[in-house]
């Protein structure tokens, strides 16, 4: 055997040893598990109610039109934007003849004579989203020769060196203003150009968004009869014929838009809603979207000398100068969103068809299932 092949074999052996040594700690490591737990701070509640959304649906009595509208609601509170999906399905038992002692399971209206239908708007939703609004500040702060700046500062425009002499108040009582004007005049245009974005405080945007703009895509509205009965509930459970797979109708499915679709309409709707409810001016000492301090801090990142100069002014003068800039709301983007509080509704109608049955009162159970499905859909 040659020396080179012996070397190769040794190197190979060393590699094998190295791999083995790497594998051993994994085997020898103690089986430690970190169990993390926090109280749920994002909740999702499912309800079946009367159409008013307030009263739990408990008993349904058919009117002359043999229709009973109701409502299913999924309420999300403080859920992530890309939260898990859900599904709401319904099944129906037969309607059994009520007797003095219970129910006659030989006399019933089959579930196939009951169906789900919907009105013109089977699904609806509203969302409340905490948005971190951001304000864009752009423009050029003029010098004291600029009428807008002079007006904001309450001085005569310094259009020539003698200007200050023509304004005794400026000269005698406001030496700080003179300093400011001097410094502004010494700054280049670039040094007075502002292009900054300022974070505001969180705002809650409540928007009855159109369906395509909701954070969840809602589908469903499956209609049709309940061909096979369910045997859930106190009444049908006792039916001697219980068995088989019930017919299930999908009332509503919610899939998080953030994981499957285009968020542009949602973000556009939020921007529109936010714009409509935000105060003016956007930058204010109190009550604005953002504060003067935050605005100056943002400007200072690129225009430190300008902010140093403006800081010599009183608060109102500073606000007036900032007010000369173009202040606009930055369109809402994903980074501005954190959680969603929303309500997603379906409006099914339980419809009974005419059926020749023995005279009496018939009772059954509507079973509505909500599935927390995770991200598997």
């Amino acid at each position: 055997m040659s020396r080179s092949s012996a070397c190769r074999l040794t190197v190979l052996s060393a590699l094998v040893v190295a791999v083995s040594a790497a594998a051993l700690p994994a085997v020898a490591a103690p089986d430690e598990t970190t169990v993390s737990y926090v109280v749920a701070d994002g909740t999702r509640q499912f309800r079946v109610t009367e159409v008013d959304g307030l009263t739990d649906l408990a008993n349904f009595t058919f009117g002359n039109d043999l229709r009973k509208p109701f409502r299913t609601m999924v309420n999300d509170v403080n859920r992530p934007l890309a939260s898990d999906g859900y599904q709401v399905n319904a099944s129906m038992t037969n309607l059994y003849l009520k007797t003095a002692t219970g129910h006659d399971y030989t006399e019933f209206i089959p579930s196939k004579n009951l169906a789900l239908t919907y009105g013109t708007s089977p699904l609806a939703g509203t969302s409340t989203l905490p948005v971190l609004p951001r304000v864009s500040l752009t423009g050029v702060v003029g010098t004291c020769a600029t009428s807008s700046v002079a007006s904001a500062l309450g001085i005569t425009p310094l259009t020539n060196p003698l200007g200050s002499l023509l304004d005794p108040l400026f000269v005698l009582l406001s030496p700080a203003l003179k300093t400011v004007c001097t410094e502004l005049g010494q700054l280049s245009t670039a040094g007075r150009t502002v292009n900054a974005t300022v974070d505001g405080a969180a705002e809650m945007v409540t928007a009855a968004l159109p369906l395509p703009d909701l954070p969840f895509t809602l589908t469903g509205g499956e209609s049709g009869s309940f061909s096979n009965p369910s045997y859930q509930g106190a009444i049908a459970t006792a039916d001697p014929a219980a068995g088989g797979t019930p017919t299930s109708k999908r009332i509503m499915t919610g899939n998080p838009l953030a994981s499957i679709g285009d968020l542009t309409p949602l973000l556009g709707s939020l921007t529109t809603a936010l714009t409509a409810q935000l105060p003016a001016p956007l930058v204010a000492q109190t009550g604005g979207v953002t504060t003067l301090t935050a605005a100056l801090a943002a400007i200072s990142a690129e225009d430190g000398p300008l902010v140093s100069t403006l800081s010599r002014l009183g608060v109102q003068d500073q606000l007036d100068i900032i007010g000369l800039l173009t202040t606009t709301l930055v369109p809402v983007d994903l980074s501005a969103l954190t959680t969603v509080t929303g309500q997603y509704d379906a409006y099914p109608i339980l419809q009974a068809s005419q059926y020749a049955a023995k005279q009496g009162t018939y009772e059954g159970t509507l079973v509505v299932d909500f599935f927390e499905t995770g991200s598997a859909l």
Partner: protein
């Protein structure tokens, strides 16, 4: 992925107790339910993401306890029936079978009443069925059932069940390490033997 199953129960409960005191200081946890009662998987996060469903490997032998939390969101006592059941899926639609119908998941069917804002830890049991673990992913659910007259409303938190690997990972790693060491030893011995032969030939 952390697993609640490999921690001893006393240790886990102790840890939960401590963490309960620190509630709210960790990542976000999510829950879902009906009638004011919600189910939160423990741990509430996987891979840094808050989750609301269970993903459990069905063991090939024995059983495991999977913890979860029942919480009452309301400021008054709330009651619900809690149980587990098999879930079937067809064309994307889920259907819940009868209570205790899952061959892999069990939880005693019981009526639970929670005080206002009460959070209670409980567990369900996962074990291989009489025919062993499933061959592929199957479903079950933790069910919160509330009855209002002629209406039964159920909030079903899905349990995604997959078969556990045939050989537990630590044993698999140990086996690989043993094989590699054996190969190494053989290679060293062969090298030494050949080297001795080479030296003998030269001599």
């Amino acid at each position: 992925m952390t697993s609640p199953r490999s921690a001893s129960r006393p240790a886990r409960l102790a840890l939960l107790a401590v963490l309960l005191l620190l509630a709210g200081q960790g990542g976000q946890a999510l829950a879902a339910g009906t009638g004011g009662i919600e189910v939160t998987p423990v741990p509430g996060q996987r891979d840094g993401r808050a989750v609301t469903t269970f993903q459990v490997e069905v063991p090939r032998d024995g059983s495991i306890e999977v913890p979860f939390l029942l919480s009452n969101l309301e400021d008054e006592p709330r009651s619900a029936r809690i149980y587990t059941a098999r879930v079937t899926e067809a064309d994307g639609s889920f259907s819940l079978d009868d209570r205790d119908s899952s061959p892999y998941v069990s939880l005693p069917d019981r009526e639970v009443t929670l005080a206002p804002d009460e959070v209670r830890e409980t567990t369900f049991t996962v074990s291989a069925g009489s025919d062993g673990p499933p061959d592929e992913q199957v479903y079950a659910a933790v069910v919160v059932e509330v009855r209002n007259g002629s209406v039964v409303q159920r909030a079903n938190t899905l349990i995604y069940l997959t078969p556990a690997p045939r050989l537990p990972l630590p044993l698999l790693a140990l086996g690989i390490a043993v094989v590699l060491l054996a190969v190494t030893a053989a290679a060293v011995l062969m090298t030494a033997a050949r080297r001795r032969r080479s030296l003998a030939d030269v001599g």
